[in-house]
């Protein structure tokens, strides 16, 4: 057990190094001139051939591959990620500024994934083959086949276009004035819902929440549709186990059998999948934020990709890969800790 955890931690830097190598390989497909564009602040410098020559030398962009990789790695370690033309600020500043918005979105999306996915999965299994079960199943499989960008546009169409309940963006303009321009509003965490509560400003909290609901639903529905399937089949498996039958024949009431005896064991495999689903939502962030013009990392990365701002896109990929590696590590270790049957060597 301990050996497994140590091994995973030792592998962590190797995998991250591998990721940087892979990203640099992709980056090297660009010419030195194209790569230079990610270093400079003023695009007009690129028009002067002499300064281009000088800058390519300065940043060692025509070095042989191994040297170029080491130089690039040194800069990454110093968090010197270059200049983002899309955001018109340094890439690192762009990331820091947008990270809280994305974090807020992902954190809130965990709630429906866990609650709805697991709750509906258990209900579906308990009412096996009922009308209720069939309805939940069909909804889940259709939900699973519905791409995020179609679903998101439908949500926007219905709840903003027709009903005008859930507007896009992160805040209404009146709330923006208070949050970003007023001296009375203090940003402690940069998560607007939490900051609003800390400032005791309920109307801003509600406004932020109103903007969050549609992106949360869009980001999380695939995850909970999937989790529902897993919970359901795991729960069905457990309900057929001998110890459940024993409990029933002893006369334990049905509620206790389901919630105390069966559910706890059925949820063990679900936890890993839930962790993977939450990490998997990172990939959906770009689409969701683009649809709802939500000012987070994903929206920025998608805009950068359209404008061929390769430096920003590559830094975004590096950040998300790191988040995913760390997330997977946490999930794997917690799984090994939770399930006593898993004795991984």
């Amino acid at each position: 057990m301990l050996a497994y955890i140590i091994r995973r931690f030792l592998l962590l830097p190797i995998i991250i190094l591998g990721v940087t190598f892979l990203i640099f390989c992709v980056f090297s497909l660009l010419s030195p001139m194209e790569r230079l564009a990610t270093y400079i602040h003023d695009p007009s410098t690129l028009k002067n051939p002499q300064s281009v020559e000088r800058l390519i030398n300065k940043y060692h962009l025509d070095d042989p591959f191994p040297l170029g990789y080491i130089n690039w790695l040194k800069r990454i370690v110093r968090l010197d990620l270059g200049w983002s033309q899309t955001a018109n600020q340094s890439v690192w500043d762009a990331i820091c500024q947008r990270f809280p918005a994305t974090l807020e979105l992902v954190l809130y999306s965990i709630i429906p994934v866990i609650l709805v996915g697991i709750w509906l999965g258990v209900i579906s299994a308990v009412h096996h083959n009922d009308m209720l079960d069939q309805t939940i199943r069909v909804t889940a499989i259709i939900g699973w086949s519905l791409p995020t960008f179609v679903f998101g546009l439908l949500v926007l169409f219905i709840f903003y276009g027709i009903l005008d309940w859930l507007p896009p963006g992160r805040l209404s303009s009146w709330a923006q004035d208070i949050v970003y321009a007023s001296s009375n509003f203090h940003s402690y965490t940069h998560l607007i819902t939490i900051d609003a509560l800390l400032n005791g400003n309920i109307s801003i909290f509600l406004d932020a929440l109103r903007h969050l609901i549609a992106p949360i639903i869009t980001l999380s529905y695939i995850s909970w549709a999937f989790l529902l399937r897993i919970t359901r089949s795991s729960m069905l498996d457990t309900l057929r186990k001998d110890y459940v039958r024993t409990a029933r024949s002893k006369g334990v009431d049905e509620h206790t059998v389901i919630h105390l005896h069966a559910k706890r064991n059925a949820l063990i495999p679900v936890i890993t999948v839930a962790g993977m689903m939450i990490i998997g939502m990172l990939g959906g962030v770009m689409i969701t934020e683009t649809i709802f013009t939500y000012p987070g990392l994903g929206f920025w990365a998608a805009t950068a990709a359209q404008q061929l701002d390769s430096g920003s896109v590559i830094s975004f990929a590096l950040l998300f890969a790191t988040l995913m590696i760390v997330g997977n590590l946490i999930v794997d270790i917690s799984y090994a800790l939770i399930d006593p049957r898993v004795r991984l060597e």
Partner: protein
């Protein structure tokens, strides 16, 4: 194999999947008849007007476009946008019909190539074990460290727009699942006596993998492949939606949906007036993916008797 086919046709949900797929195959095969191309490149969606605004279903081809075709001597074989036009006057109906070919092309090519790469790496890894296994599996881990869509987006941003580039990106980051799957199966199969016997007879390693191990372990990979055709098509469409996929005007469902993005809310006072821009392409994508998922789901049930009768 017979049992599998019988099972596929006797199960209600996979039957729905097969019927849907059959309809899509018909559409793809008869695309030139259903929507006759107006230019040399049939994958270029014709424009019905130069107008930026989408036009409702039944919109007739505009006079200035008609003049262009008359000038070029092209015969206009149909003159109405049955499903309306998307942003920029692109005919939605034409895009949907020829987009079916695009979807099949993307799904089948990427899954086949990625499957081959995955099976190759996974079987080598499992059969030889030791350092080869360790090294290849860590490389697999590195490729798996990226969210699929993010990785594909990075590669298409670097390579540039175009359907071929999209497919390259999907293949480069799409083989890892197959590698892990086949590795697991071969690890257990290689301990079987028939493999030992082949080894004792001095059969070459490559031949053991190809003739003895793969035929016994390939079925789960094929199921996985069927199930991921849908997700490959979705990811390709998502790239087009983000504006880094197929070039503008290419017959591709994702692009049809992305055309809808700016219009979905409708003009003030006319909420939802452009519903057709998202509805028709949305239905095509969902049904196509659903068809593959239903078939793949049943195949998985057949493969794993434990799951039989469950979702």
């Amino acid at each position: 194999m017979n049992r599998t086919v019988r099972k596929l046709f006797s199960n209600a949900s996979s039957l729905v999947g097969i019927v849907l797929l059959f309809i899509f195959i018909i559409i793809a095969l008869f695309a030139p008849i259903i929507a006759p191309p107006l230019s040399d490149n049939p994958y270029q969606v014709p424009r019905m007007s130069w107008d930026v605004n989408p036009q409702p279903p039944g919109f007739p081809i505009s006079d200035d476009i008609r003049e262009v075709y008359d000038f070029m001597g092209t015969e206009i074989k149909y003159d109405k946008a049955i499903c309306g036009t998307a942003e920029g006057g692109y005919d939605i109906f034409y895009g949907l019909i020829w987009g079916t070919r695009t979807a099949f092309k993307i799904g089948l090519i990427t899954v086949t190539v990625a499957g081959f790469i995955g099976v190759f790496i996974g079987s080598i890894s499992a059969y030889f074990g030791g350092w080869i296994d360790e090294g290849l599996m860590r490389i697999t881990d590195i490729f798996l460290s990226f969210p699929f869509l993010v990785a594909a987006m990075v590669l298409t941003t670097i390579l540039g727009r175009g359907l071929d580039k999209v497919m390259i990106a999907l293949i480069v980051f799409g083989w890892m699942g197959y590698a892990r799957l086949i590795r697991g199966s071969i690890l257990s199969a290689k301990e079987e006596t028939y493999v030992m016997a082949a080894k004792a007879l001095g059969v070459k390693d490559i031949k053991i993998i190809w003739k003895h191990l793969l035929p016994n372990t390939i079925f789960p990979v094929m199921v996985q492949g069927t199930m991921s055709i849908g997700s490959m098509v979705i990811t390709a469409a998502a790239l087009s939606f983000l504006g880094v996929g197929a070039p503008v005007g290419y017959a591709d469902w994702g692009q049809m949906v992305s055309f809808a993005r700016n219009w979905i809310i409708g003009a003030p006072g006319h909420a939802g007036q452009y519903w057709y821009t998202v509805l028709y392409p949305g239905i095509f994508i969902v049904l196509f993916v659903l068809a593959w998922n239903l078939i793949g789901d049943t195949l998985r049930d057949i493969l794993d008797p434990r799951l039989r009768g469950e979702l």
